[in-house]
């Protein structure tokens, strides 16, 4: 069986959940090999984690000479690793950085790139067939790579992580990074403040607020905390300055696909729907019974979110005991 490379999604060595989803997908396609590009002193910690989800090999790329630059050095490192390992496919988390790494890698390797897959399954002969959700979630597309090594970026929540012990054999890999790859410099980085809530794109439940909040997100946040959910916002709420852009769900914000999406005071413009339409269960609370959001819902309440949400939150907390 051929190796399938999985680029580990992490922040300073702290492995994020999409990594385990990608490893689970990789196991369907071949032998998962995790590729960890990060601080070398965190490598053993990372290895312990990824081998629990089936990583047979762990390539450790010390990022000492890569960090501080945007995208290009990582793409160069991965291209060299692909030449060495000849994998059956490369799976990359579908973050902004992941997609751009994929773009550069695609040209370097003269290989097809598929982005934002929501499912990947082995097709004829084992080659990956991807599922994507397009046109604001109105169409489902199946695609495959026809040239080179398939490069696939996969969205969070695309598979349920399955534990399965892998060998986790560590192999250090030292790429040669060219000077031309070191031309876009990260001058400063301000890590996002932890909210104490799940990350928006990875959360199983998302509670969002829009124009109807009038700028008061307290009822949204209280319901989110009762449900263990992430908080999201519509573009209207972000443009009004009520919430930072990083909370925006929609075409120009985050695309989410949680088990449950609760839209509060959000009318449901196509740009917002594009970011949440594939959620498994959709609930809406809105004063306007004509709001297009109600066309999507499994359950809707026509009412004022400022009274409905606090009462619902109290009821939920009571039921939880």
């Amino acid at each position: 069986m051929s190796e399938v490379l999985v680029v580990v999604d992490h922040v300073d060595g702290a492995v994020k959940k999409p990594t385990y989803e990608l490893l689970t997908i990789a196991k369907r396609l071949g032998e998962p090999s995790a590729v960890y590009i990060g601080p070398a002193d965190k490598a053993s910690e990372v290895t312990d984690k990824v081998k629990k989800y089936g990583a047979e090999k762990v390539y450790v790329v010390d990022d000492a000479q890569l960090k501080g630059y945007l995208v290009a050095p990582k793409a160069e490192a991965l291209a060299q690793l692909v030449e060495k390992a000849s994998p059956a496919a490369i799976l990359i988390p579908s973050s902004a950085e992941g997609k751009e790494i994929g773009g550069r890698l695609s040209i370097k390797l003269q290989s097809g790139l598929i982005t934002d897959a929501v499912d990947v399954q082995p097709g004829d002969g084992g080659a990956p067939v991807t599922t994507q959700s397009v046109f604001a979630g109105n169409f489902t597309v199946q695609a495959k790579v026809t040239q080179g090594t398939p490069i696939i970026t996969v969205k969070p929540n695309s598979a349920a992580p399955e534990e399965s012990e892998g060998a986790g054999a560590v192999e250090e890999f030292t790429p040669t990074i060219s000077d031309t790859a070191k031309t876009a410099q990260i001058v400063a980085a301000q890590p996002r403040q932890a909210t104490g809530r799940p990350e928006l794109t990875e959360a199983a439940i998302v509670v969002s607020g829009g124009r109807g909040t009038g700028g008061n997100f307290e009822p949204i946040e209280a319901l989110a905390d009762a449900l263990g959910a992430a908080v999201g916002a519509s573009r209207a709420a972000v443009d009004s300055g009520w919430m930072p852009h990083t909370f925006q769900v929609g075409q120009t914000g985050k695309t989410v696909s949680p088990q449950l999406y609760v839209a509060n005071g959000i009318s449901g413009a196509i740009q917002h729907r594009a970011g949440m339409q594939t959620s498994k269960t959709i609930v809406a609370v809105n004063k306007d019974e004509e709001a297009p959001m109600f066309e999507l819902v499994d359950f809707g309440v026509v009412g004022d979110l400022h009274t409905v949400l606090p009462a619902a939150t109290e009821e939920i907390n009571k039921r939880k005991g």
Binding site: E100, R104, I107, A189, R192, A274, F299
Partner: protein, 265 residues
Amino acid sequence: MNIVVCVKYVPDATADRQFESDNTVDRVGVDGLLSELDEYGVEQSLQIKEKAGDDTTVTALCVGPEKALDAVRKALQMGADKGVHVIDDAIAGSDAAATSLVLAKAIEKIGAETPVDLVVGGLASTDAGMSVVPAMLAERLGLPQVTLASVVEFQGDQVRIKRDGDTATEVIGGTMPLVLSVTDQSGEARYPSFKGIMAAKKKPLETWSLSDLGVEADQVGLAAAWTEVVDTAARPPRTAGEIVKDEDGSGATALAEFLASKKFI
């Protein structure tokens, strides 16, 4: 400064978007327009020109079928100085990699006399939405990429941007020439003025084919794509859900009841 802004002609997102029988996007049967997110690229290009002075040229570059000229025209109306439309039957069905090849060759041709300092793109197209062409262009042209900017600043040949990265708010710096992409956070795109619309009619507009760019027909198009769409299907409409009216707190109870029935509590 020589700026090239890439603009894409896309099917209107509010129209009934469809696929052709060969699984490519229907770009002819549906009304199209300049991709909304590329307007921000045009806007930032114009703002840079306004700051940098009169010897700056902004060229709007578009690859696409006949109607795609509308996208170039819109950019000219907004204030771009020149337009280039690359049109060739062989391009139909091209994937992102082939599109980036055609764009890269066109950018090289635009820069034949005065080298291009800045290649500008948007956050993503509103049809395919891959968000990878700026990175592919940077790779093909051997340039730095400074992407997904919400704020753009420059001084001399130095560019600095602010952006919402995946895990941090970042400041990215690079030296021109480079590829820049901007998001919808970078500032509202201007509407063409009446004067701008009239002036656009007299602006230079070139139409190039693949042979003008030295690209072979078999390097692009559906047959040369590195990926293949094997199936497209309209998502089945969601089954109508239950909608209740809140009366004296009944909505909250019903909501909690629904969430409990689905085991979310």
